[in-house]
């Protein structure tokens, strides 16, 4: 497939983060169109477009919006419908490998702001928050600047563009916790608590921020909305497969010649994307890669032709996640890579659920002794058993994500684990595979 810059189309402009540049490149025209429509028409448009959330789970965006309880015409609202509605932007990008939202907010923050205004209008929300990762100070700086410019130009605040619609938008900095990318943990954090996930139901659409109906969308999702409004649902569906349409920012990193952001239709393959990135560095070959960040099971060279859209990647045994394509070659040890990821999950586990809190700790211990050459033949099964006791047994997906790299590396590269065992332990397994251990630093 070809490159199709849409979200990235302004990135190469002179100071694209400035309102004047944004407006000169059709910025805020979608907002004017949106304000001429009814909120329900906007929800229908986004539903019809087939836009699915870009934060990892791929839930249909228009459907998510439609779950917000709204007062019925002519009736006095009761229950959740009577409460204020909130829109919260998940800009807490921190999944290892994922690096699409920060460049978007740094180069083209107004596209997010415009998407927020349109989406807030669609769900009848008057207070929206962008929860941006605390470490992302430059993205935070440019977002704050863009929001100030938008207020000054009448796109935010009271009576947006004379429409009678009011919207306040706050840019809120987090403080360094990966778990706050989980939507209910993000809500707790935004309410001023430790960022720990909530048990669902109730779902945020009914009881979210301050117990009121809340939509939480990813940065890239909301930045896509103005393009859907301008181009229409049919235009949007020209990109990629019918069930996950649209342009997508693929982030390629690691052992490639030209790492970076490549925007192409959903369903583009890794083979095509690798070619765009100049291929694996000369003299080396692809060993393993992630389709969507560290929480998605590894893929190998045999998966180069899997279309990278939500459904195809799931069918091939992984998840599209955040289209964070981390590329590793034959010099990289998959066991050491897996250890590093597992250390990350152990550090970032919020501690609320025992299987995740304790399980990630013990997984690190087992992986470390394997890497150190002190493992036993029983450790491979122990890893699998421990993963089984984490998967599906915690409130949120962090625990599940922690098992992905271990389970998939054992599936595709079990021999790499065996090769790290002492000879007598290998003998217990009835095999000898004394491969040369590869150093992560080589």
């Amino acid at each position: 497939m070809p490159l199709t810059p849409v979200l990235t189309s302004r990135w190469g402009a002179d100071q694209p983060w400035r309102l004047s540049t944004y407006e000169s490149l059709d910025g805020y025209t979608a907002l004017r169109t949106a304000l001429s429509m009814t909120p329900d028409e906007l929800v229908s448009l986004v539903k019809d477009s087939g836009l699915r959330g870009r934060g990892g789970a791929g839930f249909p965006t228009g459907m998510k919006w439609s779950f917000i309880p709204q007062p019925k015409p002519g009736e006095t609202a009761t229950g959740p419908a009577a409460l204020p509605k909130y829109l919260v932007v998940n800009a807490d990008e921190g999944e290892p490998g994922t690096c699409k939202d920060l460049p978007l907010m740094m180069t083209d923050p107004h596209s997010l702001v415009e998407g927020v205004i349109i989406s807030a209008y669609a769900i009848r929300c008057r207070f929206a928050v962008i929860y941006v990762r605390g470490e992302a100070v430059h993205a935070h700086r440019r977002l704050v600047s863009a929001v100030e410019e938008a207020y000054a130009a009448g796109y935010l605040g009271r009576d947006v563009l004379g429409s009678g619609y009011d919207l306040e938008l706050v840019v809120h900095a987090g403080a360094g916790a990966y778990i706050c990318g989980e939507e209910t943990a993000l809500l707790d954090s935004l309410e001023g608590y430790r960022g720990q996930p909530r048990l669902k139901p109730p779902f945020p659409a009914v009881a979210g921020l301050y117990g009121a109906p809340t939509v939480i969308n990813n940065v890239e999702t909301l930045a896509t909305v103005p393009f859907v409004v301008r181009g229409g649902a049919e235009w949007f569906k020209r990109f990629g497969p019918e069930k996950s349409p649209g342009p997508k920012i693929y982030s390629i990193s690691g052992r490639v010649v030209r790492p970076g952001q490549y925007e192409a239709p959903m369903g583009t393959t890794m083979r095509e994307l690798l070619a765009m990135a100049g291929g694996v560095r000369p003299g080396h070959e692809l060993k393993f890669w992630t389709p969507g960040g560290s929480s998605t099971p590894y893929f190998t060279a045999e998966h180069l032709d899997v279309p990278l859209d939500f459904d195809s990647v799931a069918a091939a045994g992984s998840m599209l996640g955040t289209t964070a394509l981390m590329v590793f070659d034959e010099t990289d040890s998959i066991v050491e890579a897996t250890l590093r990821f597992t250390e990350f999950y152990a550090h970032e586990s919020c501690g609320k659920c025992t299987p995740c809190r304790e399980g990630t700790y013990w997984l690190v211990q087992v992986l470390q002794r394997l890497v150190d050459g002190r493992g036993t033949a029983a450790d491979l099964d122990l890893l699998t058993d421990t993963c089984d006791n984490i998967l599906g047994r915690s409130f949120c997906a962090l625990g599940d994500g922690a098992t992905s790299c271990i389970t998939s590396s054992l599936k595709y590269f079990r021999d790499d684990y065996v090769a790290l065992l002492p000879p007598e332990e290998q003998a217990r397994l009835g095999r000898s595979l004394r491969l040369e251990p590869v150093g992560a630093a080589s």
Binding site: T4, P5, A57, N90, G181, E183, W235, S253, F341, A440
Partner: protein, 339 residues
């Protein structure tokens, strides 16, 4: 100095008379009435006061370089919370420092991708140069060193940040020179980011206030030049190849006998590949899989978090717990566990 969090009663119960928090040093600037006014300004931004707590803790750090006991007390008073409640929040988040930081905070990403590309070697070298370990401050107070988890700049790996501004594609020698310059009081310009101020300055920004004296300086920080190669890699390649997205307006695509909507995608230039075929291939590959059958229409909007709640096919089911009753799942969710 009181413990963080804690009280005389608590100390009596636990037998611990000391806290891990070091005493406030004499030269620490006190929190003033101005700090309280700013805290109230933060509170006024939100529908409910407690939402201001995280920005308020950034504000405390902007004055004192860490979350001091005095700062915890201020937040507690302004929000009507106990110091224990504020301390519980402050200790949860990595960016809230429990000991005074140096003038600058140097963070080295040692997560997997940066580590294999040299991040771990950078961390080791800086640690040796400064004589400190993770989360410790050099004796001269110039720099606090930490290893960081993924900083969302993997396309620029390995990355180092100073006061959270990006210094991209570092190597050991470059990073050592950077830290040496910081210790001499210099402020090398980031690869991407604003001209360096210091840890306290950037904490002020995160609290939602300008750290600059005037609008011109603030504007210069926003507009600071940088090197954006990887960010623009795809945009530049598209221009080179003459590829673009299908146009939004203008003549509708020629109706064709297949009536498929993907015809207007520009050709990839690959021999023998027509756009129609490419699009059709993608659809064929996408069809007929369990995830589709699960049916998005049956799912709840919140099934699936930003991490992707759904379990990939091939994961083992958990037969001892009925679907929909185990923690973290919902009967409303998609049936992908059976996939």
């Amino acid at each position: 100095m009181s413990a963080l969090p804690g009280s005389a009663e608590g100390a009596a119960t636990t037998g611990l008379v000391d806290s891990p928090v070091e005493p406030v040093t004499a030269d620490l600037p006190p929190l003033t009435e101005q700090t309280r006014l700013e805290a109230r300004e933060i509170i006024a931004r939100y529908p409910q006061p407690r939402s201001a707590l995280l920005p308020m803790l950034h504000l405390v750090q902007s004055y004192q370089g860490y979350v001091s006991p005095e700062g915890v007390a201020l937040c507690a008073e302004e929000l009507g919370l106990t110091k224990a409640e504020v301390g519980a929040v402050a200790t949860f988040y990595t960016m809230y420092k429990r000991r005074p930081t140096g003038r600058h905070l140097v963070s080295v990403c040692t997560n997997t991708l940066c580590a294999v590309l040299g991040g771990q070697r950078i961390m080791d070298a800086l640690s040796a140069d400064l004589g400190v370990h993770h989360d410790e401050t050099a004796a001269d107070g110039s720099v606090t060193l930490e290893h960081a988890e993924c900083l969302a700049a993997c396309d620029y790996a390995p990355v180092v940040t100073v006061d959270y501004e990006f210094y991209d594609q570092q190597d050991v020698e470059g990073a050592r020179a950077l830290v040496a310059a910081l210790r001499r009081g210099e402020k090398p310009h980031p690869t991407r980011g604003a001209p360096l101020t210091d840890f306290r300055g950037v904490s002020r920004q995160l609290a939602g206030f300008s750290q600059h004296a005037d609008a011109a300086a603030a504007g210069a920080a926003v507009d600071a030049p940088g090197e954006w190669g990887p960010t623009l890699a795809g945009v530049r390649l598209a221009a080179e190849r003459g590829e673009s997205a299908p146009p939004m307006s203008g003549p509708e695509p020629e109706p064709t006998d297949t009536g498929e909507p993907a015809e207007t995608v520009a050709p990839s230039g690959q021999a023998g590949q027509t756009p129609e075929k490419e699009a059709a291939d993608a659809r064929v590959a996408a069809a007929d899989n369990p995830a589709e059958r699960a049916g998005a229409a049956q799912t709840h909007p919140d099934e699936g978090t930003e991490y992707g709640r759904t379990t990939p096919p091939g994961s083992r089911p958990t037969p001892d717990t009925p679907a929909g009753t185990e923690p973290g799942t919902s009967g409303q969710g998609p049936a992908t566990r059976e996939a």
